[in-house]
């Protein structure tokens, strides 16, 4: 499929998914009313405007942001399977968020939660980058193992925090581990959108240097790019987006891997096209995954992170297998 057609398809799919996700739920809303074609009764109106719409839009923002982060990291690490989750970035962000929340900073200081998530994400990225580059250009295995180690480290710290957390807060902490959008509303959307969309636009506007990084260090430097500084700048941008997404939705794994990986064959790897396509694809994916999380089980709401992991883990394994076969 041509890049243009893929983009058109994605542009059509997202609003469709949003409309569907807004209409379906524990209370089904009439689609005509959702689309503004027919009047809604007051109860439905309230559900639409104060519950469904902000949540679905937030799902789109989070999914789009995580996909853009994935595409960015894949270019910087020159590896089509790099992802915030696999590189320990999500764990770092979750650790930061939990720390802010258990320590009580989040209640006292405005923006402490997203700031802590940003800090955790950036720290994890720089750690993985530094450790994996100790022995030259990292292989996929080297990267994944380093990411695994950093994830494990963040997980261990999280467990320690969990033990030290008062019982009534444990559920909040678990939320970041499982990922989810339950009870999220306009303030979360506002917070998430500013940083996620702002960060995505920033990353997109520097698409050209991102493509240079994907060529490798020598070639990028010979074209006049300050390679290390540029990498760190992209890490900061990616951490900003991943941190904000994690602060509002907890960890939602594999989105950053699936969306760009699935779209690259049709839109190509040029970041100018891949980043927007990945945003739309990731947004649609998470909107639908959140719809599944809300409606698959009649009794409970499933954790959103589990839904994307159930999709992403087999996808990842298949992609690795296919990559190995190709050599």
């Amino acid at each position: 499929m041509s890049p243009r057609r893929t983009l058109a398809l994605l542009l059509a799919a997202l609003p469709l998914a949003v409309a569907l996700a807004v209409a379906i739920g524990s209370v089904r809303l009439p689609l005509a009313g959702v689309l503004g074609l027919a009047p809604l009764d007051p109860a439905h109106h309230t559900i639409l405007w104060s519950v469904r719409l902000p949540r679905v839009l937030l799902a789109a923002v989070v999914g789009g942001g995580l996909a853009v982060v994935g595409a960015t990291l894949q270019a910087v690490f020159r590896n089509p399977m790099a992802d915030a989750g696999l590189l320990g970035v999500s764990s770092g962000a979750a650790l930061g968020a939990v720390l802010a929340s258990s320590a009580g900073w989040a209640a006292g200081v405005f923006l402490a939660l997203p700031a802590a998530a940003f800090g955790g994400a950036l720290l994890a990225l720089v750690l993985v980058y530094a450790l994996a580059h100790v022995a030259g250009r990292p292989t996929l295995h080297g990267l994944l193992l380093t990411g695994l180690a950093v994830s494990a480290l963040a997980g261990a710290a999280l467990s320690m925090l969990l033990v030290a957390t008062e019982e009534f807060r444990v559920k909040t902490v678990l939320f970041w581990l499982a990922g989810g959008l339950e009870g999220r509303s306009w303030p979360h959307l506002a917070l998430g959108s500013v940083f996620v969309l702002g960060g995505c636009l920033l990353l997109w506007s520097f698409a050209r240097p991102l493509d240079l990084l994907s060529l490798g260090e020598d070639e990028a430097a010979s074209l006049g790019l300050p390679v290390h500084a540029t990498r760190l700048a992209f890490f900061a941008g990616a951490a900003l987006v991943a941190g904000a997404a994690t602060a509002v939705a907890g960890s939602v794994p594999f989105v950053g891997l699936m969306a760009p990986h699935a779209l690259r064959p049709s839109v190509g790897s040029l970041s100018r096209r891949l980043l927007p396509a990945a945003f739309l694809g990731g947004a649609t994916l998470v909107v639908l995954a959140d719809l599944g999380a809300r409606s698959l089980s009649g009794r409970y709401e499933l954790p959103l992170g589990s839904v994307t992991a159930f999709l992403g883990a087999p996808y990842f394994l298949m992609a690795v297998r296919r990559g190995e076969e190709r050599g």
Partner: protein, 264 residues
Amino acid sequence: MSGRPILLEARGLQASRGMRPVLSTIDLALHASEAVALVGPNAAGKSTLVRALAGLLRATAGEVRLLDRPLGTWSRDALARAVALVASEDEGAPAMTVRDRVALGRYPHRGPLRPFTDADHAAVERAIRLCGIGTLAGRTLGTLSAGERQLAALARGLAQEPRVLLLDEPAAHLDIGHELQLFRVLDEVRTQDVTVLAVIHDLARAARWAERMVLIAAGRIAADGPPDAVLQSPAAAEAFGVHVRGHAVAGLSHPLYSFEEGLQ
């Protein structure tokens, strides 16, 4: 050579890879539209010299000068507009098209944000045409052979429109057809007033193509001059540890070379 102005020059250049000193006191001047073959045994310091000349590697002593100004005083962009480096490693994402890959060569001219002008598009198309990869321009790198990818990398270097083109083993992965094509492109590039310095492993090929050969051994310049003279010099025999013989053949304007083991 002395009639042509000096473009790029190493003066007393020393450079290291990590903690290991590789180059000791290199003096080398590259003149306008010169075709120079850089030869030498493995680990002699050829790639290190090329990287130092491109400004990717800091000199531990001495300096590299471009148009008589130290490299350090050039901005990154200006340096990349004047000197292009094409290595033999096969870089580039498999899903990137050849044209997009070549267009990245315009980065030093346009930076991260400024949109491409007609001149940029023209330079990209010219580079693609010069390398004879017009029919591949819309294909993705993952679908190309190693030789075709190398030509795409060369086209990226040409799209930079440099004064000096540095190539590190450009023919490393190429079959004979692509190899001949590559050196024909380099000959054409020279006619456009570009200095070309290429690390070449195949000594006979280097002698055929270049007008000047620089032999590096153990981090020093062991010989420098017309290719046939350098190749048949005692320095070459010693550096490679082989006997080099040039054979005159009736009807051929250049000697054919044979190499035999034996010198230690």
